[in-house]
């Protein structure tokens, strides 16, 4: 790759701009460059890897041993990306994507507008918000954030740390803590009891997935070493000014644990704000309980020239993201007449063959780890919108008494979703609450409209947009 140091080094126009340097973004850039497409990769972090391979280029042997083989796999892809000659700007925040494939990007306090013939959105997934009472207290964080600490600096939390929730990442983090020889106080497994019954029909498919063996071994190791509470309900974090204890119900009894850290996690969902803001169609996926961009297998969205790949399209994990990214890169090269038909067909067959095992059995995981509704729709005494401090009770009251039809009316009435996170943390919860009250599906309720900037950007940078263009001409 050609690492750029300044926003002034960017061209005004590229064949392809890839947003995000995780597995999908890197694989797409490598493939597109292979066919000669002028490619720029923009990424928010200081180094490539995305969240899954975060800090992979600066890790240590000790950390690799803790984080495991799947993390180490990221090195192979980052090396391939480094060997390519795609342009790459780190610490670059894309704060707007326009339908004419215009990208507003900020770097070191300066913003510019650049254009591309094709855009690939490879912004990945985010953890599903977990809006239980007390989730904003200091001492409560997500399991994903705790894993970033581990990846970026080898830091672990202790000693009185509890993991709560459900899903593969929860168990993975627990096993990584065990590998680091850091004890966990307990795991509060919130997976509803009935999930297994609904998932079991899909077990045969999952048995053929590479994730099955890994998952089963990992869960067994953790279960031997850490006290587990199963079928946990009514989870709440409590404390005066900071987390002091967690309260929950399990096996018919109320429990209170005194803790320093609570790590929450109940799955990941595609981060769709950028796609939504540019007008891409999205659909509600009731299996994964989240919005998915409407896209074909090549990642083509409903907006011309805009593609999506990786977990931002649908949750299948890093390996599938790598193949999905590569396929989008190949398709984009074809759409720009940069690859001949024979090479295209041969390469696509090779990609699809490689991807197949990682696509198997996902529905088993979706059903097995389907989150509890009470932890998706904020409780009355839980903060629904962190930015604007709107309580679940307020949302319910306005949905009931003023009959707010959807999240956009709700936003006008109570300000939820108006803050700097652009609704990332409250969107699913608000939609779920309104759906519950109106007795319709989240898909029928809809989601917030997303406005720029996707990430906060200072007035000076917006004021400076035109002058930069003028300087250059």
């Amino acid at each position: 790759m050609i690492g750029l140091n300044s926003i002034r080094e960017l061209d005004d126009r590229y064949g392809l701009i890839v947003i995000g340097a995780g597995p999908a973004g890197m694989a797409a850039a490598v493939e597109a460059r292979r066919h000669g497409v002028g490619t720029l990769v923009l990424d928010e972090n200081a180094a490539v890897g995305g969240q899954i391979y975060r800090s992979i280029t600066a890790t240590t042997q000790k950390r690799l041993a803790i984080l495991g083989k799947d993390y180490a796999k990221g090195a192979e892809l980052t090396e391939a990306f480094a060997a390519s000659d795609a342009a790459y700007l780190a610490r670059a925040t894309v704060w707007r994507l326009g339908a004419e494939r215009e990208v507003a990007v900020s770097h070191d306090g300066v913003s510019r507008l650049i254009k591309a013939d094709r855009i690939l959105v490879a912004t990945g997934a985010m953890e599903r918000p977990f809006p239980v009472a007390g989730w904003t207290l200091p001492g409560v964080m997500t399991a994903g954030a705790a894993q970033i600490l581990l990846k970026a600096s080898g830091a672990v939390l202790g000693p009185k740390t509890v993991l709560a929730g459900s899903g593969p990442l929860l168990w993975l983090l627990a096993s990584q803590y065990l590998a680091a020889k850091v004890p966990l106080l307990a795991i509060l497994d919130t997976t509803p009891k009935g999930n297994l019954r609904k998932a079991i029909a899909h077990l045969p498919g999952f048995l053929t997935s590479p994730y099955f063996r890994k998952g089963i071994g990992l869960m067994a190791r953790v279960q031997r070493a850490v006290p587990i509470y199963s079928n946990v309900e009514n989870l709440r974090a409590e404390g005066y000014g900071q987390l002091e204890h967690v309260r929950f119900r399990a096996a018919g009894r109320q429990h209170v644990l005194s803790v320093d850290h609570l790590l929450l996690h109940h799955g990941v969902v595609p981060e769709v704000n950028m796609l939504r803001s540019v007008g891409c169609d999205l659909v509600w996926d009731d299996e994964q309980m989240c919005w998915h961009p409407v896209a074909d297998a090549d990642g083509r969205t409903s907006v011309a020239g805009i593609y999506v790949a990786g977990d931002g399209r649908a949750i299948y994990g890093a390996e599938a993201a790598r193949f999905g990214g590569r396929r989008a890169g190949l398709e984009i090269a074809k759409s720009l007449a940069a690859v001949d038909d024979a090479t295209f067909e041969r390469t696509r067959a090779e990609i699809d063959k490689g991807a197949r095992p990682y696509l198997r059995g996902r529905i088993f995981l979706d059903r097995m780890f389907r989150p509890r509704q009470e932890h998706v729709a904020p409780a009355d005494d839980a903060i629904a919108c962190r930015c604007e401090e709107v309580m679940g009770a307020t949302v319910r009251d306005v949905a009931t008494r003023l009959k707010a039809q959807g999240p956009n009316q709700m936003k006008a009435f109570v300000r939820c979703g108006m803050g700097p996170c652009q609704g990332r943390q409250c969107s699913l919860g608000i939609t779920a609450t309104i759906a519950e009250i109106r007795g319709i599906t989240p898909g029928e309720v809809g989601a917030y409209r997303i406005r720029p900037p996707l990430k906060p950007i200072d007035v000076g940078q917006i004021a400076g947009l035109e002058t930069i263009a003028e300087d250059r001409h």
Binding site: R401, A463, G464
Partner: protein, 369 residues
């Protein structure tokens, strides 16, 4: 569900809700219709000024109407706060129009002088830079002066919308959101309003649907001369209060965010913003207040003004469909008080009203002739 009402108000924005509330509190049996979660709305995107200065330069009756509403605003706010417990953050500290350069200042002075020519009591002052800086200490070096009007103020317009909806319910009014009115037919001496899910009978119907009035109006004999004009806004992160007066293009909200809105485009797509326009607005705002430069913008949006051909409100009863009224304006915040407490009694009494008669459709016919 009751499906017969005395008044049907079509539109649940600030104009519709002000009227529906005004009717309900006077004991009228009223139903208010609104569309689904996403629609072409003006009330959710406005700048929230209760603004007098400069309005009605070529139409003095509009100037009077605006002043009357601004004067009545405090009592509307107090009444709604009593009823709903929601503090609307209405204030009337006087507002400024800042001028960047001598040309802007001279033009501003000319416009306001023409208002004064119509109304010798017209309340405004022109301030030079030195006088202005005493009140607005952070003002930038490019600001050469300003106009000031003591009647200008602002409000939290989203809370206004919420409290009007609540107050309507508290007075026994019915709100039917998610029920777009698709057709209006005769029903005896009244009207039958057809929605996606059922029909509702009303004796009288008030069209307060903003841009939707164009299509609805055609069902009851109105040719509605309005168009969409796009305005763009950006809002910053929240900071400690430092702007204690609203300005025509910059104001600090009660929550602490600074709103900047300075554009007029002939466009009817409200789903996008234009980077050149946002950049232009940001540059002017930073020239007015250099301290804004470092603030983070959390949101940009565009919204559609509902503009009549001459820019002034339209209040009219249909000549072919008596009992059908048209109400449209682009100042739903400023005129909320006049609409709830001045226009509504006039609509109820049915007697001729000189102010309201001046806002009829006849002025456009005269213009055409």
């Amino acid at each position: 569900m009751h499906d017969e009402f005395e008044y049907g108000v079509i539109g649940g924005g600030l104009v519709g809700a002000s009227l529906a509330y005004g009717l309900a509190k006077r004991g009228r049996k009223v139903v208010m219709f609104d569309e689904a979660d996403i629609a072409r709305r003006a009330s959710r995107g406005n700048f929230a000024l209760v603004w007098v200065q400069g309005k009605g330069a070529a139409f003095p009756v509009y100037s009077d109407w605006t002043i009357a509403s601004a004067m009545a605003w405090s009592s509307l706010a107090a009444e709604l706060e009593d009823l709903t417990g929601i503090h609307l953050h209405h204030r009337r500290p006087g507002g400024f129009v800042l001028c960047l350069g001598e040309d802007e200042l001279a033009e501003r002075a000319r416009d306001l002088a023409s208002l004064k020519a119509h109304n010798p009591d017209y309340p405004y002052e022109m301030l030079d830079r030195r006088e202005l800086a005493k009140v607005l200490r952070q003002v930038g070096p490019d600001v050469v002066g300003a106009s000031y009007c003591a009647l200008d103020g602002d409000v939290n317009s989203l809370l206004l919308l919420r409290s009007l909806h609540m107050a309507l319910a508290q007075h026994g009014g019915t709100s039917l959101p998610g029920r777009k009115v698709l057709d209006i037919g005769r029903d005896g001496r009244g009207f039958r309003l057809k929605t996606q899910s059922g029909e509702v009978h009303v004796d009288k119907v008030i069209l307060a649907a903003g841009l939707g009035n164009m299509e609805l109006g055609s069902k009851v004999g109105f040719d509605v001369p309005v168009r969409a004009q796009r305005g763009e806004i950006m809002v910053t992160e929240k900071i400690a209060p430092f702007l204690h007066h609203p300005m025509h293009i910059i104001r600090q909200t009660n929550e602490g965010g600074v709103m900047i809105g300075d554009s007029h485009e002939e466009a009817d797509d409200y789903n996008s913003v234009s980077m050149p326009i946002q950049s232009f607005m940001a540059r002017r705002a930073v020239r007015m207040f250099p301290c804004l430069e470092a603030l983070n913008v959390v949101r940009m949006w565009s919204a559609l003004r509902v503009l009549s051909r001459d820019g002034y409100p339209i209040y009219a009863q249909s000549s072919t469909h008596p009992g059908a009224y048209l109400v449209t304006c682009h100042s739903g915040v400023t005129l909320a008080a006049a609409h709830a407490d001045r226009l509504v009694p006039a609509l109820i009494s049915g007697a001729r009203d000189t102010i309201i008669d001046s806002f009829g459709l006849e002025r456009f016919h005269a213009e055409a002739a």
